[in-house]
Amino acid sequence: MSRQQTQVLATWLISITAVVVILPIVLVVFYVVAKGIGTVNWQFLSQPPSNGMTEGGIFPALLGTVILTFGTAVAAIPLAVGAAIYLAEYAGDNRATRAIRLAIVNLAGIPSIVYGLFGLGMFVLFLNFGTSILAGALTLGLMTLPVVISTAEEAILAVPQEFRVVSLSLGASRWQTIRHQVLPHALPGIITGIILGLGRAAGETAPILFTVAAFYLPELPKSIFDQTMALPYHLYVISTQVPGMPLSIQYGTALVLLIIVLSFTLIATAIRTVMRRRREW
């Protein structure tokens, strides 16, 4: 085979492989939409499950996921943004910084089920929060940290050095420079990271298994020390643990979860695209 023929063959094989990777993604999304769209309506979203969960809607699980995502944001954002500012603006090239970076890479790699174990050991049992929204949100918050830290650090580093130099030369202090010059310009990037992290947290099941999620609750949670149902866990429950569960409700639940999580991704992508266009440097 001549090298020109190899070139043609390689081009074809590579293009076909790309289709093999990308087509199933599109199919999966369309499949869930097609199968689930018939079930999803206002009643499905606003009613609790009934008749042993084989009828009714998903309201308590939906609300639980919203509460948990909000809790995750409260737990993760201050710490993550602080850490990102530290790494980008303060940390020197020394052993402590390398330790912090190594810790963040590894935090990102720890399996979500191990976060669940940690949440159970520390928040539920040791700190005695019980199986509660507080314990679940803190566990999810820790899991979200590395994503937010990395993207926020990138965003801060992307602010041109000249901005800092000019601000300092005008007599601003280091913190004033960060607060008034660096952070405002990095904000869209930081928000993108936060949204991506929260989207991931909203769809996670393993970290909430032992820390907050309830199989079924007849009442809505009243405080952060109550358990709650959550959408990802609810999907797990109704697809494996409930006999005689109608497929339509399962697909409907999967669709709602998919829409929630993908809208986070979509919003983040949109902010990033708009920002790239607007960027003046």
């Binding site: 094989l13 089920i113 913190w175």
Partner: protein
């Protein structure tokens, strides 16, 4: 401390650490201390995670002899805690996922980086981000209701097998592998390509003999992080691998039998054990094993990254 990375040399004059003393008031000192603590918190958190796993899991190592932990039977009701079937389960699913995901991921990255026209790349990259965003439970659910029946129809005794898990996991690892490989390809200087093409190499020869070898450290990182991601996955694997805690017969057929992974075992059994019981400790011990495996993979990957930091701005 205060360095101006990549800034012109003229800027890199001696600068005292921090701003001039007159500008620093107590408020700034507090803020900067808090920021420093936030940075250090990452180390504190990962240490805490390991300590709590140890605290809850240590009794397992003390009360169950190592020989029993390496046994071939996982049957907690009779205090048989052989971890081997679970390790084999995780290994089978992960190896399967890697064998599927690495060639697909590398090729797709090459396509995106070297072949696809810019407009198509702008469409395809978000599609791959969508894949990264699909919750594992949704993929697991689809594997359970849609993929497993296909696998059974293809001739396996059951649709819930290590292979089914491997396919789902491969797609979950793909976004990581693709995006990191693409970064690595992008980092190869354009001169390398121009040089090879000028010498008369075809585009494929250039990619195969020049670009890929130049990007190999990045590709190794991509594969390692992909493996790390696959071995820790829980929910999708739990739904589609059949959860049978036994060691399948050796050979290719092993992939077409039900298995149970370490992650799925923790997820499935932790809800039903008494806190403080031996079974409870053993589940935490599995957590320790998972922690150490992923820690090793990620730390190694970080070593490879070494000097490849991409600092654009700089510090004050």
């Amino acid at each position: 401390m205060s360095t101006l990375d990549e800034a012109p040399a003229a800027w890199q004059e001696q600068q005292p650490s921090g701003a001039p003393a007159a500008k620093r008031n107590w408020r700034e000192t507090i803020i900067e201390t808090v920021i420093r603590l936030c940075g250090i918190s990452a180390v504190v958190i990962i240490t805490l995670i390991f300590l709590f796993l140890l605290k809850e899991g240590a009794p397992a190592f003390m009360q169950v002899p190592i020989r029993d932990l390496l046994g071939v039977r996982w049957y907690p009701i009779e205090d048989m805690f052989g971890l081997l079937p679970l390790l084999v389960g995780s290994l089978l699913v992960t190896i399967g996922a890697v064998v599927i995901a690495v060639p697909l991921g590398l090729t797709t990255a090459v396509y995106l980086g070297e072949f696809a026209p810019p407009w198509l790349r702008e469409i395809l990259k978000p599609v791959i981000e969508v894949l990264a965003g699909i919750p594992s439970i949704v993929l697991g659910f689809l594997g359970w209701v849609a993929l497993a029946p296909l696998i059974q129809a293809a001739g396996a005794a059951t649709g819930l097998t290590a292979f089914t898990g491997a396919i789902i996991l491969a797609y979950m690892a793909l976004p990581t592998i693709i995006s990191i490989t693409e970064d690595a390809l992008y980092a190869v200087p354009k001169e390398y390509r121009d040089g090879a093409l000028a010498l008369g190499a075809t585009q494929w020869q250039t990619i195969w003999r020049v670009v890929l070898p130049a990007a190999r450290s990045g590709i190794v990182i991509a594969v390692m992080l992909g493996v790390g991601r696959a071995i820790g996955e829980t929910m999708a694997v739990m739904l589609v691998t059949g959860n049978a805690a036994n060691i399948p017969a050796f050979g290719l057929g092993a992939w077409f039998q039900p298995v149970r992974t370490m992650t799925a075992t923790i997820a499935a059994e932790m809800g039903e054990v008494a806190q403080g019981s031996l079974h409870y400790s053993v589940l935490f011990a599995i957590g320790i094993v998972l922690f150490l495996i992923t820690f090793a993979f990620n730390s190694l990957a970080t070593r490879f990254i070494g000097g490849r930091s991409r600092r654009r701005g700089g510090q004050i």
